[in-house]
Amino acid sequence: MFISNIENFLRRQGKPLVAFISRLGEFSIFVAQSVYNCLTPPFYGRNLLRQVIDMGFYSLPVVGLTTIFAGMVIALQSYSGFMRFGAEGAVASVVLISVTRELAPVLSALMVAGRIGAAMAAEIGTMRVTEQIDALTTLSTNPFKYLVTPRIWAGLIVMPILVLIGDVIGIFGGYVVGVYKLGFNPANYVNSTLQNLQAIDITTGLVKAAVFGFIISLLGCYNGYKSKGGAQGVGTATTNAVVSASILILIFNYVITELFFSK
């Protein structure tokens, strides 16, 4: 009696653990499969193009709005903060560093995760529950190569470009506030920005962007691919894709920063 009580207790406690570990294993296999398929032919160029347009071109307004306001608010905040110890002159470089290193990559990635990660999970998830993925297989087409690979390549290619554009727009936002609201001399502001411009600020931002792009596509595809159980399952997959991608973006943001800047 006592023994069987313990056994039941262990079984109950162990079940979620086993489920977690098997899910982790399933995810690892998915990642390995994705990487392998990304590097081996055939490649579906037309699908890649569609993803690049969806993820890149149509994300431009969102990324532009996000980064311009981020740049503007940083200029305003750093001015009022730095005034306390008379360091207002540092505004231009603070805008430059915070936009290129942090704000443009992180905020753009979070916005794209919400826009595109969700769409990927919903589209692939619907294809799963309506047997379209099985149909691809029966038509001698590897669904991984047809659906997942183009999306991951698109993430890797598009995010750095978006972030580069975001950098420019964000710095411009800081310039607008600096010059028209805080009364900086335009020439001085531009000068101070250019003088502080360092390659490492931009490159770390772009490395982050590529990693975030990979995360967004991977989790969008993974959650869609493994979804089951009709409309509700697709809904869950969509939510999970956005939430897990956002969290991983923030975690990897720290990890990459640590790799580049910790001494």
Binding site: Y44, E123, M127, T130, E131, Q132, D134, A135, L136, T137, T138, L139, S140, T141, N142, Y146
Partner: protein, 254 residues
Amino acid sequence: MSENKIEIRNLHKAFGRKVVLDGVDLDVVKGESLVVIGGSGTGKSVLIKCIQGLLRPEEGSIKIDDEEVVGINEEQKEKLHSKMGMLFQGGALFDSLSVWENVAFDMIENKKVNKKTAKNEAIRVLRSVGLAPDVADLSPSELSGGMQKRVGLARAIASRPEIIFFDEPTTGLDPIMADVINDLIIESVKGLGATALTITHDMASARKIADKIAMLYKGKIIWQGTVKEMDKTDNPYVRQFINGSSQGPIKVEI
């Protein structure tokens, strides 16, 4: 070379503790149309998915043209799929593509046929299932259920497969449209000289398209024979199923 196109021996498949296929033995003779009947949830779809390699059975053997297909690698699977076609229950048409691109999918993606030739061929196949050429440029979501089934059928036969699978081809259609689909299935299978494996619980459809019928119950094939033999059999399970009676040895689990 044996006359069997598909040969299944002692096939087992379970999901966790739920045993779905429990030792299935089944032969499909070349050029014949076999219909597997059975209630909902008896594992008919799982059987088809195992044969296509979409699911991997725990035990048993499936041979197609005398070659084992359980446990083959992706490349061999792609080759295997090139001789198969499948009509899915819900159609499973790609909604990001137009109707003709669906039908021509194999031609464009695998055989690298140029677009114009592929489209003409797709329109020809669409016509053979009774669809007008102006349907070709529509999106699948603009079609009615019966038309989607026809497009699904056109896609399944477009690559001229040696084996065609039909998953509940008449479910969700009105009786007249169901009969139209049955006629089209017979026509296209005979036209291609293909081997057909259908799963259904629609007895009218089964009678019409089957050369042979097999009944799946509790993970095993419990009876098989021709339509005539089915009408004469005194097997109580088959009798209950074809009469559609709630009384008998088959208990519905609620």
